[in-house]
């Protein structure tokens, strides 16, 4: 006689468990013996038991449907409270959705290309990856990845005599193959696209435009393929339109045009690559080391190839610097959004608790009629889940709106750097939202569920329940404390913004505009291009309403960096500007010692240099800087050149308003006329400078001899735009803080109103015994204020412990700024008064007779 399979019996015992398993195993053995064996049959039967044991129905215990239908029924009968709870949740979840989709596009979203998971970004921690020459070595040497080169620039593009700036991605010809890109219409470049640009082939070079550019500039014209355009100084033929969702590999920047890179050997590029089938990131990194060594050996002098290499999956913001700049903001916002969600959960818990207080007699009756605690617990949990589901649906809607509102309302960001960050909702966002929703539901249903199922029967039947109301007061205190912390943080950021805005930039900004220009032919003779610029300045001065005009290499923020030192050996990186003699006068920067540049500075001999106060003080601490020799351009192995200090200009801000004073020097355009062919025309006007932008631009078009206009605007705007980070933080936090306050105020209102409802009888007795309405009002108001006062005390302690984390965002403002703290506390007292006012007034309208008959 064969035995039943041991393994199946063991599984039955483990998975079914208990005496059930024993009985089932007995039945199976009996039948097994009766039918004279059949291991397959035995396994089949055992598995059927296990499947049933683990079926959803069996696990969830019968009656889950009833739980939900009762929850729905209760919600239908009290739509007001359910709606409030759902709205609270929806607001908080909406904000979190938006924030998470932002995070998603920053860190997780992949390129919209086939098999995006296999795309990797290859770059160096500092600087560009390699030169074109190096790229050819990598492209041909690497087996585990297929690599394409890319480089980004912002260039003017001319279509039918209109010029506008576009984001251009210069790429190697294999770029579309590596990314497996299709086109909306037309085709990508030919395989010899890179060499074609050098005039090797007779054909015209080709460009591919983005879907967005096609729609906005070409009106979606299907005949765009074959059209001639001019980008910077070269002519291109449009070969095709990229797929709609593809915006290049410099996310979040939206690339407008892709052109093949000219195959010039010293051009610096980064790599984007696709892993070969079966290759892993580790393979690729190892092989890059080997091929990198070969390429280094082939070009021993190449400094670029020395840096550490990084290989990482291409997801989110591919520009590492941008990720790092945004990290603190993202951390701050995630914390705050999480807090808002917590406050909302506490709010809903509070609402459920007050519902539980109203229903405590019903619960007690049901308990005494035999309903188990588990059953009541499950019902409350089901109610929470239904509320969370409603909140979730509304939250997705709100999230969508907040996303669009944010995209529209955020202060403008320089160079459109972050404008492409998406607030779209994809599956990751949806998953996050669902998890957040379930988490919330559990979080806020547990306290009332415990309260419902644990309450003692006797006092509940009689209608006393002090524990419940005490619990709700504690929640309210927590809400006030949390939202006060947010309010203080918001206050601090707003104060920081004020603080930075009130900083004197050290130069005049009002009535001034700038136009950034580039010489039409940057390879031309320096003197010729200098005279083109000089003529333009002269003609600008003659425009009506223009008081003066000057030329400078940089405006604000300054980007020109060179080297300077008091001796040949001590040269270090220093910011610099090349200016016309009247620059200091026009910009309102006084020369505090020595003299400014003369209009006819001789271009022979040692150049004259004007330094700022910080440079004079730090380079020659013990002596007068005037007449000293300063050594310029001595970094990176260059030969330093001497210059003579002829004057000291007052310190100003050069890159950010919040910066510390830093060394800076000026050289005269008369002595260094090249300036790379870039200059900014700065104009002082009699009235609003905006009105002069157009006439000046017209003048440049007419008389500039084909000069390229890069950018234009007022100096006020140029300064204001550098504040974008502070403005971003302050406005986002203010929005979240406001939301938190609204939620917490609803919480305080709820607690006070509920206590008024519960004390109707007591209030009636007091009124009948002759209490003045004002006394009753004060009694109710004092209840709200007491909660708020404790909340403020806790919140102040919490803030004191946490505000130091904000130090990096405050631009020198003390995190314990008394004004921000005081304003937040006062604001909360005011809000608490408002929130308790309505319940207080309602309390005095209680009719003693009705109140005494209450219940």
């Amino acid at each position: 006689m064969s035995e039943p399979p041991k393994c199946a019996e063991w599984l039955l015992r483990r998975l079914v468990g208990g005496r059930d398993a024993d009985a089932v195993a007995g039945d199976l053995r009996e039948s097994f013996e009766a039918r004279g064996g059949g291991r397959f049959w035995y396994w089949w039967q055992a598995l059927s038991c296990m499947a049933v044991r683990f079926s959803l129905y069996r696990r969830a215990v019968p009656g889950i449907g009833t739980d939900f239908s009762r929850a729905l029924r209760r919600i239908r009968r009290n739509p007001g409270y359910a709606l409030t709870a759902m709205l609270c949740l929806a607001l908080a979840l909406g904000v979190n959705t938006t924030l998470f989709s932002f995070l998603d596009s920053l860190y997780f979203r992949r390129l919209p290309v086939p098999e995006a998971g296999r795309i990797v970004q290859i770059d160096r921690k500092f600087g560009d990856f390699c030169t074109w020459r190096g790229f050819l070595g990598f492209r041909d040497g690497l087996r585990s990845v297929q690599a394409a080169a890319k480089e980004r620039s912002v260039d003017p593009m001319e279509v039918d005599h209109t010029t506008f700036r576009v984001q251009v991605e210069g790429v190697s010809a294999n770029y579309p193959q590596v990314l497996r890109l299709g086109t909306t219409i037309g085709a990508w470049f030919r395989a010899d696209a890179n060499t074609m640009l050098d005039g090797a082939a007779g054909d015209e070079p080709e460009a591919v435009i983005s879907y967005r550019l096609w729609q906005t500039r070409f009106g979606g014209d299907a005949n765009v393929v074959g059209k001639q355009v001019r980008i910077l100084t070269s002519d291109f033929r449009i070969a095709g339109v990229a797929p709609r969702e593809f915006t290049g590999t410099f996310s979040p920047l939206r690339i407008d045009v892709w052109v093949p890179l000219p195959a010039s050997l010293n051009r610096r590029v980064d790599l984007i690559a696709r892993l070969a089938p079966r290759a892993t990131l580790t393979n690729a990194a190892a092989e890059l080391g080997v091929v990198g060594a070969q390429v280094r050996a082939a070009y021993p002098g190449d400094q670029l190839l020395q840096g550490a290499v990084r290989v990482q999956p291409a997801s989110g913001l591919l520009w590492q610097g941008g990720r790092e700049i945004l990290r603190p903001i993202v951390m701050l916002l995630s914390t705050v959004a999480g807090l808002v969600l917590l406050i909302a959960c506490v709010n809903v818990a509070n609402l459920l608790l007050s519902r539980a207080a109203v229903r405590r007699r019903e619960m007690a009756v049901r308990r005494s009629l035999g309903a188990s605690r588990a059953r009541l617990f499950r019902e409350t949990l089901a109610e929470g889940l239904v509320l969370a589901a409603g909140g979730l649906l509304l939250g997705i809607l709100f999230g969508h709106w907040t996303g669009s509102a944010l995209e529209w309302a955020l202060p403008s960001v320089p160079f459109a750097l972050y404008q492409g960050l998406l607030f779209g909702i994809d599956w990751r966002v949806a998953l996050f939202l669902a998890l957040a929703g379930i988490g919330c539901a559990v979080l806020f249903s547990l306290p009332p569920a415990f309260a419902c199922s644990r309450q003692a029967l006797n006092p509940a039947m009689k209608g006393h329940d002090s524990r419940n109301s005490r619990q709700r007061e504690i929640y309210s205190v927590a809400q006030v404390a949390l939202s006060l912390t947010l309010l203080i943080a918001t206050g601090l950021l707003v104060r920081a913004l004020q603080h930075v805005q009130s900083v004197d930039p050290g130069f005049a900004t009002g009535h001034r505009l700038h136009v950034n220009l580039s010489a039409p032919d940057r390879g031309a003779d320096k003197q010729v291009s200098a005279s083109v610029f000089s003529n333009l300045v002269q003609q600008t001065r003659e425009l009506p309403g223009v008081e003066d005009a000057t030329l400078a290499w940089g405006v604000f923020p300054m980007v020109g960096v060179s080297c300077a030192g008091a001796s040949r050996e001590t040269a270090k990186k220093t910011l610099t500007n090349t200016v016309d003699p009247n620059y200091f006068d026009l910009m309102g920067i006084p020369i505090v010692r020595g003299r400014g540049f003369a209009p006819a500075e001789s271009s022979a001999g040692m150049p004259n240099v004007i330094v700022n106060q910080t440079m004079a003080r730090t380079f020659w601490p013990a002596a007068d800087a005037i007449g000293k020799t300063v050594w310029l351009e001595g970094c990176d192995g260059d030969v330093p050149k001497p210059g003579t200090v002829i004057g000291v200009a007052r310190d100003a801000k050069y890159q950010w308003l919040s910066e510390e004073p830093q060394a800076f020097y000026y050289v005269s355009r008369r002595q260094d006329p090249g300036g790379n062919g870039f200059y900014s025309l700065i104009v002082r006007t009699a009235g609003d400078p905006r009105q002069w932008i157009k006439p000046v631009l017209d003048l440049v078009e007419r008389r500039g001899g084909g000069m390229i206009i890069y950018d234009s605007g007022t100096l006020d705007d140029a300064v204001a735009v550098t504040l974008w980070e502070v403005k971003w933080q302050a406005s986002l936090l203010a929005a979240l803080g406001l939301l938190a306050i609204v939620l917490a105020a609803i919480g305080v209102y709820g607690v006070v109103a509920c206590s008024v409802a519960q004390r109707t009888r007591e209030i009636g007795v007091r009124m009948a015994l002759g209490a003045a309405p004002l006394d009753v009002q004060w009694m109710v108001l004092a209840h709200g204020l007491r909660i708020t006062a404790i909340g403020i005390a806790v919140g102040l302690l919490l803030s004191a412990a946490t505000v130091r984390l904000l130090r990096g965002f405050l631009y020198g403002l003390s995190p314990f700024d008394p004004i921000a703290f005081a304003a937040a506390c006062l604001a909360w007292i005011g809000i608490a008064m408002l929130a308790s006012l309505y319940p207080a007034r309602r309390a005095t309208r209680v009719d003693p007779m009705t109140a005494l008959n209450f219940e």
Binding site: D27, S31, W44, V52, R58, P62, E362, R366
Partner: protein, 115 residues
Amino acid sequence: MDWDLVYYIEQMPPVHLGEFEQIVLLAVLRLGEKAYGVPIRAEIENRAARKVTVGALYATLDRLEAKGLVHSWFADATPQRGGRSKRYFKLLPAGVEALSGSKAVFDRMWEGLHV
């Protein structure tokens, strides 16, 4: 008066039995004292001519017990069947009532019909 409670009681649905539930209840009723897993399955297989897995049978019996229609208990272990105990089932009055209710429904539906 708490209207919620009244509402619940009014809403308590009459017990509806599925076809398989009826078959299982009838098998338990037929077997009387001897109703445990193996004979119940044999009864169903013989009379209704349908194969039943042990899992499906116990799932149904558990559900009927949760609805308050049957009652089950474990008998003491005997040396037979590897020393494993048996789980016996018995119909409760609610079970009998549900069965007769179901039968009445079918009778009414069949009344006057000849197929």
